[in-house]
C-alpha cells in the first residue's frame, strides 16, 4: 500500500507540472533505467506508466538483492529434524547447520520457482539460524519481467555468521566458475584474520589446536607443516559446505540462464561476501549448449550433482601478509576441479607436489575474490598468492555427491 508522503523537497520539481521523462527519447530513458539496477525499484516502475512498463523489461543491467533477514525470536532448539542433518552437539554440527542447511533451504525454495507463501513469517520451516526466509520471493519469478537482462547480479542474504573455533566467526571466502557443470572452485579460509601488530604477533586466542611450524632442521626435508586432524576435519566441512552452496547456486543459474536469452554475464554473491559464483558470456553459452544435450535431471530438486572432484590444499598455520597488513592463522586454500579436468596435469605433477602448475595455476589466478569490497579483500588476494608459493600441498579426492 502506498503511504501518504510529504512533499518532496530539494531536487523535486513538480511545481512546473511538466512530465520531464516525457522529454526524453526512449533510448535515453532506457539509459537511465539501466542505472537504477535495483530489481525491486524497476519492477515498481512497471506500474507507473505504459511507457515505463514497456521499457523496463528491456533494461540490460539488473541487480537483485534481499534485505537482511529478520531474526525471529530465539527458538533455536527445534524439535523434530527430519532429514540427513541430525542435530549433534559440538561446534561442527552447529557450523554445518548454520552454514549449510539454512542457505540450502532458502535456495531450495527459491530454485523451485514457486512464489513463497505469504505466511506470517517463520512457520514450520524455519532453519536453525532463525532467519526469516519464508517471505522472500523466488528470484526466478522475480526476474521474469526482465526479459532483456544482459548483466545480472544477485545478492543472497547471509545467514547468521558461521561459527568457528572458540565462537569466533569463521573467515571464509569461496568462488566458483560454472559452464554446463562446475569448472572450478577455490576456497580460502582461516581460523582468524587480524591486523598485523608491529613487533609481537597478536595474542594466541586460537587455543591448543593451533600448530607450531616444524623445527628448523626438518625444514629442508619437509618444507610444509602438517595439519592436525581436527583442523583437517574442519576444513573438510568448509569444503563440503562451499561445494553444496556452489551447486545450489548452479541450479539457480540454470534457471536464470534459461529464462533470459540475452544474458551475457551473471554473478551470485553472498551479502556477507563469503561466496561468489560468476558466469561470463562463454560459460553461459556453454551452459545453454548443455541444456540441449542432457535430459533434465530432476532427481535432485535442490541442486545439481557435484561431479567427482580432485582437490589441492595448501595450509599455513601462520601466514604473514605484509602488503595488506594482516596475519592469517590456520590459512587454508583449496583448489577444486572436476577429476576429469584435473587428471591431465596431476599425472605430470605427481612427484613435485608443487603449487599452482599449469591449468590449475591459471584457475587460481583467475579465481577472483575481487568485487567483494572490504578491507580484507586485499588480504585474501595476498594470502592466495602467498600460499601458492608453499611447496607442500595435499591432494584430496571426493566422490560425486
Amino acid at each position: 500500500m502506498d503511504l501518504p508522503r510529504p512533499e518532496v523537497e530539494g531536487e523535486g520539481g513538480e511545481e512546473d507540472g511538466e512530465d520531464q521523462l516525457g522529454r526524453l527519447p526512449d533510448d535515453l530513458l532506457l539509459h537511465i533505467l539501466d542505472r537504477v539496477h535495483d530489481a525491486r525499484s524497476l519492477a515498481r516502475c512497471l506500474a507507473v506508466s505504459k511507457r515505463l512498463s514497456s521499457l523496463v523489461p528491456l533494461t540490460p543491467t539488473v541487480s537483485l538483492s534481499f534485505p537482511r533477514p529478520r531474526l525471529l525470536p530465539a527458538s533455536s532448539e527445534s524439535e523434530s529434524e527430519p532429514g540427513r542433518w541430525r542435530r549433534r552437539s559440538g561446534f561442527l554440527s552447529r557450523l554445518v547447520d548454520r552454514f549449510v542447511r539454512g542457505p540450502l533451504r532458502f535456495l531450495h525454495r527459491v530454485a523451485s520457482a514457486k512464489s513463497a507463501s505469504r505466511s506470517g513469517g517463520g512457520g514450520d520451516d524455519d532453519c536453525d539460524c532463525d532467519c526469516d526466509y519464508d517471505s522472500r520471493p523466488a528470484p526466478g519469478e522475480v526476474l521474469k519481467p526482465f526479459r532483456g537482462i544482459e548483466s545480472l547480479r544477485v545478492e543472497l542474504p547471509s545467514c547468521v555468521d558461521a561459527v568457528g573455533l572458540n565462537g569466533k566467526r569463521t573467515v571464509l571466502r569461496w568462488t566458483a566458475r560454472f559452464g554446463g557443470e562446475m569448472k572450478s572452485c577455490v576456497v580460502l579460509g582461516a581460523n582468524s584474520l587480524r591486523r598485523r601488530e608491529d613487533g609481537a604477533a597478536a595474542s594466541g586466542e586460537e587455543g591448543a589446536l593451533e600448530l607450531r611450524p616444524r623445527a628448523v632442521e626438518e625444514v629442508e626435508l619437509e618444507p610444509g607443516p602438517v595439519i592436525a586432524e581436527e583442523e583437517l576435519k574442519l576444513r573438510v566441512v568448509w569444503i563440503i559446505s562451499c561445494l553444496i552452496a556452489a551447486s545450489a547456486r548452479h541450479y539457480l543459474l540454470r534457471q536464470i540462464v534459461a529464462d533470459h536469452p540475452m544474458l551475457k554475464s551473471v554473478a551470485i554473491v553472498d551479502s556477507d561476501k563469503q561466496g561468489k559464483v560468476r558466469m561470463l558470456e562463454e560459460e553461459i553459452a556453454e551452459m545453454r549448449r548443455s541444456f540441449d544435450s542432457e535430459a533434465a535431471d530432476s532427481s535432485s530438486a535442490e541442486r545439481i550433482r557435484v561431479p567427482d572432484l580432485r582437490m589441492k590444499l595448501w595450509y599455513a598455520p601462520e601466514l604473514e601478509l605484509p602488503e595488506s597488513g594482516y596475519v592469517m592463522r590456520g590459512a587454508t586454500m583449496v583448489l577444486i576441479a572436476p577429476a576429469s579436468e584435473a587428471e591431465g596435469e596431476e599425472h605430470g605433477k605427481a612427484k613435485e607436489g608443487g603449487g599452482g602448475g599449469g591449468d590449475l595455476g591459471d584457475v587460481m589466478r583467475s579465481a577472483s575474490f575481487e568485487g567483494g569490497g572490504g578491507e580484507d579483500e586485499a588480504a585474501f588476494r595476498e594470502a592466495a598468492t602467498e600460499m601458492g608459493k608453499l611447496k607442500r600441498t595435499y591432494t584430496l579426492e571426493m566422490n560425486s555427491f
Binding site: D2, L3, R5, E14, R23, L28, R44, P137, V142
Partner: protein
Amino acid sequence: MSSSPPPSSAAASPSCPKKMIALRSSDGETFEIEEAAALQSKTLENMIDEDCAGTPIPLPNVTGKILAKVVEFCSKHAEPGVDDESLRAWDAEFVNVEQATVFDYILAANFLEIPTLLNLTCNVVADMIRGKTPDEIRKFFNIKSIFSPEEEEEVRRENHWAFE
C-alpha cells in the same frame, strides 16, 4: 582569437594550445570554451577538426542558460590537477538543481555527446527513481498515468513482491 591553419584531422589533442572555440546557443548567445574542454564533447570534437577558424559553432538544440553551464562543466573537467574527491563534490553541487534543469542537462549531454555529464545526470535521475513507490514516481515526475485501474492492478499483482 588567433587564426591558425587547419590542423590535420587525425589527432584528438589540441592543435593550438589555449585555443578558444566559440559556440552559439539556440537563442543567439555566444560562449567561448577552451579547446581542451570542448574535446569532452564528441560532437564538438568532430566539428572542431573540420574547421579551426573562428566562426561560432551553432548549437540549435541548446539554450544559452544550459550552454553556459555545460561550458562550465567541461571546463572544470578539463582542469588539470583536480583530485577525484573534490571533483565528485563539485559534480554533486553541479546537479543540485531543479528537476527540469537536470533533464535539460541530460538532453544537452546527449546531443553534445559528453559521456561524463550524461553519466552524472542519468545517475541522478536513476537515484530519484530508486526506492520510490509507483505513486511517488508519478508524482515526482509528473507522469500522467494512462493505465486503467484494472491494468495497474494486474501489474501490481504479478509483481507483488516489489510492492510489499
